[in-house]
Symmetry: C2
Amino acid sequence: MGGDHGPSVVIPAVAAALDGVPGAVRFLLHGDEGAIAAELAKRPDLAARSELRHAERVVAMDEKPAQALRRGKGTSMWNAVEAVRDGAARAALSAGNTGALMAISKLILRMSSELERPALVASLPTPRGFTTFLDVGANVDCDAERLVDFAVMGEAFHRAARGVPRPSVGLLNVGSEEMKGHEEVREANRRLREGGYVPNYQGFVEGDDLTGGIVDVVVTDGFTGNVALKAMEGAARFITQELRNALTGDFRSAMGAAVARPALRRFRDRLSPPPAAPLLGLKGMVLKCHGGAGVPEYAHAVRVAADLARSDFAGEIDRNMRRRPSAVVETGAGAAEGAIE
Amino acid sequence: MGGDHGPSVVIPAVAAALDGVPGAVRFLLHGDEGAIAAELAKRPDLAARSELRHAERVVAMDEKPAQALRRGKGTSMWNAVEAVRDGAARAALSAGNTGALMAISKLILRMSSELERPALVASLPTPRGFTTFLDVGANVDCDAERLVDFAVMGEAFHRAARGVPRPSVGLLNVGSEEMKGHEEVREANRRLREGGYVPNYQGFVEGDDLTGGIVDVVVTDGFTGNVALKAMEGAARFITQELRNALTGDFRSAMGAAVARPALRRFRDRLSPPPAAPLLGLKGMVLKCHGGAGVPEYAHAVRVAADLARSDFAGEIDRNMRRRPSAVVETGAGAAEGAIE
């Protein structure tokens, strides 16, 4: 029911994703029975692999998180997350209200270990694969400890989701020298260097390293991460629009573009970032899809969700957090003194 | 003498810029006489329009600002900024140590009105022209008052440099709703809405508006601004590299690319951001060029500097700051009570 379009986009998108996911993957569709059934009737292949679970209500896109917590029970979003807790689903995907999804997921699934709030993670294309980038908007105010949490979560996510055994981790800053940046980022750097939180910590990285493939995981606060992610998306949109203008400007350019069209299409596909951002740190898997996603983007998000659902990244994060050096380390005592809890 | 290459890039670059600047523009070249004279000998056209001013020493690229202040007197950087103060030059351009350039410029030229530190401004291409974006790295910690200063400076700069009579100003945030973002950005939003600091304030904008052309001026702290700028530069580099790969992948694509080459070249030129960032807020004009700039980039920076030198943006900022509602406003008293100082 979520996002700007609801079932009229979600159902066709899940149907479109069917041939990209293994046959054993099945779907629980939470929401208004009438609206969903009408869309399902057009796609018997999807109907055969899904189950409709009626919900009376929805969380509105402009509802505040606290409000969504109070009156969220029985909404399609609530039920989808509950299905993960109850083991009926491996992952929940929503294009609805981000703040509400975070709050409801945190309440129902709870956080791994001593984590406080979920982080939103994005995957950025690089010449060599993907950069795992977090937090991209869930935590606007972040102290050093929170940044260390993101490093631990991001590292576990990258290992589970991308199969890299020892992901390298960098901390986003305005320069690579130790004295650069504000107090929180310098303190987080110190802790990550000395505390053994992630085995392959590489120190500071800069904005252009995000798509450079220098490190596997880049950590920052949710304010900077959100701005940087959207800035890159905006730049990519601007650049491809400029390219289109350039290649249709005159007959000669248009001819060249027509000949090169398959390459230009591969180019465009390569650039599209995955439209689903997992919420990290929960004891269960929840993914957020862009509210404005159309059928192709939402279908892509469904494939990403089906993929990640087999990766156990949530379990990996939980194990990483339990292995995490305890808070004692942060006051200066010996490192790697074993797990908390 | 500054930058990664010194006179071997700077002198050929100034020579290359000659035909892009009016004949009346002349150059003072500060630095090692021998090194500069050797380069100048190859370019008599430049020699005829420039004057060599010998400096015994240079500011090293890794020198700390405080150090540069103590021992900077007599360096090429120091002398170039002094020439602006003494009226011998309209603008100083350096590819040297950014922190040192800021500190030396602030000491020699002083700040306009009650401004505390210079801000670095970038110009980003948009479908309709350019976005003025600041601060892109000079001030890592910014409170609400500093953000308001940036709005006032950026607005004056855009008017002077781009000839837009009433530039629109936006404040960078993670969403456009009033309750979004951290405390400093919400407080700055309140002051800009109520204080009358800039006549055409448009509220919050997001990362993708930077290249969207929604507003003329986008304001943020130096940490976020630096990361966002570099993230966009990195994305642009990645995308054009991917495009090159796509268009040389097979014979058909390469054919198409060859036919469309002039369009692709115009496209690339359109994307290149101006490589010179003015330092705003000084009583005088200083521009910073990328340390790694090659001849074409540095030549571009010289043209930008020559252009801006005729715009009087520093005077415009000073007048804007003097018109600025006084500090009294911030405690709630009546607005627009006249200038400070």
